[in-house]
Symmetry: C2
């Protein structure tokens, strides 16, 4: 039955201060690897972060996500070892000059942060036919990423840094966290309070890559078309 | 060379009002299909939405996104036809009772909204080896989804609704928007001002699916483990 408590209601634009706060979260969020403080994150704060994630949009309201907190020292040691192995493999893929810079970058805070969180996507949730997922099977993964981004923005507002670690062999994470076959580890996050953040993305500060000019990325009506003129 | 203007700076938690504003954007954002007003969105507002998207986290600072605004009537008619064809295919996949409900749901606002926006992922940006993408090739798609979610939250703060349309055959979108082979259409969004929003997700209001109990989705240290006890 339709839930009448969820009907349409007036929805105004945010006032100036509230709008600024949303943009501040978006613009000052940083991927954190080295600035974690050891202070524990209280349960009520962790629950607010999860609530933010759980209110992400999801295809067909599928809500395909699960949240696995990782705290046990043994588990984190294994995750850290899995990262170290994959990161050594990764370093070999860069040419000499980049390899040297790569090796100086700290790309995770698995043991330094007080808690880790793996956000997964259950590809079977909601059964074989999910509204909106009929023509693009990856939309459940996309929904899960929306949850991750909500959580990272809420974390910024709470004074908590998040670092997304993606350098793992999938099989290692699956084994360590005992994931079923139909569950995909979408994001492995290190979470902890921070007192300082980089003012620009750390990879930009460290000279790895520059921010692209936004206007070069915008087209009109078709790929490559700039305001009515073909590029 | 390192950019010294991007060094570490003090980063405090947001004050109560600012924190509330971030959660308000997250909790009151809705996927919009029917509430669009015809009023044009000014260019400076569209540019703020793009700036929010462009400040999403991206793997290896790859920034793999492009933004294609779709306004031309002819293009939107073709997109609308592509949706109608795919949606008819989708309806056939549901069993009788669900099929009836499915057919009553409005799942797009392609022509009703004043502007559409396709956000794409260029899988070749940054060359063959991208930091952080060495072991999971899909992290560029995930980065693009982070940009989409940033944009949708900024839109909520601006009083603009966004509706993500995912019921298309990939080949149709590629042809209509002239996408190169290496570019993936991640999100097709309808954008427009709204004066009303559903207080709960529309699919919940319409009786399609209920919100899951968040606590059932949380595990500790491994899949299925509830606070130290196996489920």
């Amino acid at each position: 039955m339709p839930n009448t408590s969820g009907e349409l209601a007036h929805a105004a634009p945010f006032n100036g201060d509230d709008k600024d706060a949303v943009y501040k979260a978006i613009l000052t969020r940083r991927d954190v690897r080295s600035q974690f403080l050891p202070r524990e994150i209280p349960d009520d704060v962790l629950n607010r972060l999860l609530m933010a994630a759980h209110h992400a949009p999801s295809v067909g309201f599928m809500q395909p996500w699960n949240f696995i907190f990782i705290k046990a020292a043994e588990t984190r040691n294994r995750i850290s070892d899995a990262f170290a192995k994959a990161n050594a493999e990764a370093a070999e893929l860069f040419s000499d000059k980049r390899k040297t810079l790569y090796s100086t970058l700290k790309l995770e805070g698995i043991k330094q942060s007080p808690i880790n969180l793996c956000i997964t996507c259950d590809r079977e949730r909601g059964g074989p036919v999910v509204l909106g997922r009929t023509h693009n099977r990856d939309t459940d993964l996309y929904s899960t990423v929306c949850a991750v981004q909500n959580l990272m923005l809420a974390a910024r507002a709470e004074g908590i840094g998040a670092g997304w670690v993606s350098i793992f062999n999938d099989a290692d994470i699956r084994e360590i966290l005992a994931l079923p076959e139909h569950v995909v580890p979408v994001a492995y996050l290190c979470l902890g309070y921070v007192e300082e953040l980089f003012q620009k993305p750390e990879l930009e500060v460290k000279g790895w890559r520059n921010r692209l000019d936004l206007q070069t990325l915008v087209f009109h009506d078709r790929w490559g078309e700039k305001d009515g003129e073909q590029v």
